[in-house]
């Protein structure tokens, strides 16, 4: 497929997804949670799974960008800015997803105003507030000089650049050196922040002793590794599409593919370890959720989506000679990135669908008191809309933001 038609497909799907999302959002705003299918047993559903998915993509791509800006790995330099931009966009998508999930959306500010420091959710919120500020600042300093340069051009693009430059005019080499220093400092601070905050998302689940399938010290670690694997996988796709695509980014895409393969294998190791320990122990409360995931009504999410499409096929693609062809590598990346949504669903839903007290779901007759959960149309549409927004933001980013520098020359 030639890159032009690939781009057209990209824009069309972005617009269509976004438009479909509006239907879901309309329902969410008019009728609250009535059209959502979760209840008081499975209290969290697709929106929470999407949230931890996007937030993992964000933390993962940020940590990969730090390979460039902290550890100075030249191999990934071409995707440095793209990785930071991806981290910003996916973080935004995560926050929108979880915002939809709140019972009172317009009280979201309470988490800053009335934070309970005993709550892992509060730690997470404070940490990602710091992370948002850090990310946006880092991105701005990465782009500053190019924004200033582009701001001199006439027309709407120049105007956007002047606006985004926030009045900065300095193009001297000294200013650029200062920018690089700031980026390096922010990226360095960002590494522990991203680790803590995504580990914190894992801890949010890990600390819940009431849900034995989550209650494991491995959880914060698994969350980190899966963030790196999924974020890296997404970046291989993005690197193959944007900035002249796979033809120019060939080596970067292949290098990313190798790294993602390693991370994915590490993630599989951790997940297998969790399962083996749980099944060896055989404590019913602990194994019940895992049994649900691998043999419950949604067994195919585990076997087909997560294992075959999201793990085995990409591993084969990356190990065979296809691993040296950027097109196959980016396809593997796409499969892994999509497969991780299955991983996230399989963390959230079976973990909740095991009754805490036997007979609870039969005690009162209500659709809200059931262990069976399938996301409703509204829930899917909201998330499709969020994905659409993400695609559009990437598109605009590609159109408007300065591209990667080449051999020290600014291309606008």
């Amino acid at each position: 497929m030639d890159p032009r038609s690939l781009k057209r497909l990209f824009w069309i799907s972005g617009l269509v997804f976004f438009a479909l999302g509006l239907i879901g959002w309309r329902d969410r705003f008019l009728y609250g949670h009535v059209s959502a299918n979760y209840g008081s047993v499975v209290t969290w559903g697709l929106w929470v799974a999407a949230y931890i998915y996007f937030i993992g993509l964000s933390a993962g791509s940020f940590l990969i960008s730090s390979l460039v800006y902290v550890f100075n790995m030249k191999r990934f330099e071409r995707i440095g800015r793209l990785a930071v931009f991806t981290a910003v966009v996916t973080l935004l998508l995560a926050l929108i997803s979880i915002w939809a999930d709140l019972g009172h959306m317009f009280r979201a500010w309470h988490v800053i105003a009335y934070a309970n420091f005993k709550s892992p959710m509060a730690w997470m919120i404070w940490l990602y507030s710091a992370y948002v500020i850090l990310l946006v600042t880092e991105l701005w300093f990465l782009l500053r000089a190019d924004l200033v340069a582009g701001g001199r051009a006439p027309g709407p693009k120049g105007m956007v650049y002047r606006l985004l430059a926030l009045g900065s005019r300095d193009q001297s080499e000294a200013a650029r050196a200062r920018d690089r220093w700031i980026v390096r400092a922010l990226a360095t601070i960002g590494v522990p922040v991203a680790i803590m905050f995504h580990g914190g998302v894992g801890a949010l689940f890990g600390v819940v002793a009431a849900r034995p399938a989550w209650h494991s010290g491995m959880f914060p670690i698994i969350f980190l590794v899966s963030a790196l694997a999924s974020g890296g996988a997404l970046l291989t796709v993005i690197a193959a599409i944007f900035q002249d695509g796979w033809q120019r980014n060939r080596d970067t895409v292949i290098a990313l593919g190798r790294m993602v393969l390693g991370l994915l294998l590490l993630d599989v190791l951790f997940q297998v370890s969790e399962m083996l320990v749980a099944f060896y122990g055989g404590i019913p409360g602990h194994t019940e959720s895992l049994r649900l995931a691998i043999g419950g009504p949604f067994w195919w999410v585990f076997w087909w989506w997560q294992l075959v499409l999201g793990t085995l096929v990409p591993i084969v693609l990356l190990v065979l000679p296809t691993g040296r062809d950027p097109r196959w590598v980016s396809l593997a990346g796409l499969l892994i990135a999509a497969g991780f949504l299955g991983v996230r669903l399989n963390i959230v839903i079976p973990g909740l669908a095991a009754e805490e007290i036997r007979g609870l779901s039969e005690a009162i007759a209500s659709a809200r008191m059931t262990t069976y959960y399938v996301p409703s149309a509204t829930e899917w549409l909201v998330i499709v809309g969020v994905v659409g927004l993400g695609l559009l933001l990437f598109g605009f980013g590609e159109l408007l933001l300065p591209k990667e520098e080449e051999a020290g020359h600014v291309r606008v």
């Binding site: 009728y31 209290t43 019972g103 009280r107 309470h110 002793a209 039969e362």
Partner: protein
């Protein structure tokens, strides 16, 4: 008593002793609770779970009425990101501040006993709007709220309050006057005993000293204030 009431400096330590041998599984408590607290569909402050005990021809079903246990160490309180749910200083009743709760439902996931429910804002279709019942406000924490979209408690997490709205100004209940948790008041088999564990003369304290009570999921260290007699 198994637990150590000396640790608490509270005025009252309200809780329940539930005699499973007296429970016939009539679910009058569930209905009484619904009528008292006007909970919407899908929200129940107390439920009766039932299952047959395994093996043997002589086994009878086990019924277990299950309100909120008002744990001494409630995991729901620790996880709430905005401190909207808390254990009351004076009597240990675990409550929710509806105006602060953001509806994230982390407390529901953290409760090992399934004692919390999310209010989706679904109304009783048969009584919606036009009937007198729909106009009766619910007595949540003496606030007497009316249900309307986008206003609390719709979009909040809800739970058993031990009918806290029936307390007098001093925090006391009065069984003789009928100011008593609805489930305990209505129980046909007199299986639900409610009272103050801090008062050694109370029915609940005496029952626990005479008979062996168990609490659910002791291994989690939550120290529930509801004891079951087997």
């Amino acid at each position: 008593m198994a637990e150590s009431p000396a640790r608490t400096r509270r005025k009252f330590r309200y809780g329940m002793v539930i005699d499973t041998r007296r429970c016939v599984g009539c679910k009058a408590c569930v209905v009484a609770c619904k009528a008292e607290n006007k909970t919407p569909p899908g929200v129940a402050y107390t439920v009766v779970v039932e299952h047959a005990l395994p093996t043997g021809p002589n086994d009878k079903p086990l019924f277990m009425t299950k309100p909120c246990f008002h744990c001494e160490r409630p995991p729901c309180v620790d996880v709430c990101p905005v401190s909207a749910t808390f254990k009351r200083e004076q009597d240990g009743i675990v409550v929710i501040d509806y105006d602060r709760c953001i509806g994230c439902r982390y407390c529901i996931t953290a409760c090992p006993y399934g004692a919390r429910f999310f209010d989706f804002g679904e109304n009783y279709p048969s009584v919606a709007e036009k009937t007198a019942y729909a106009r009766v406000p619910s007595p949540e924490y003496r606030q007497f709220r009316k249900r309307a979209a986008d206003t609390s408690p719709v979009g909040n997490v809800r739970k058993c309050t031990l009918c806290v709205h029936l307390q007098d100004a001093g925090g006391r209940y009065d069984q003789a006057a009928g100011r008593w948790p609805a489930c305990a008041k209505t129980c046909t088999g007199r299986a639900i005993f409610f009272g103050d564990f801090n008062d050694p003369e109370s029915e609940v304290a005496r029952l626990l000293s005479e008979r062996h009570g168990v609490r659910l999921k002791e291994e989690l260290g939550t120290e529930p204030n509801v004891h079951y007699l087997l």
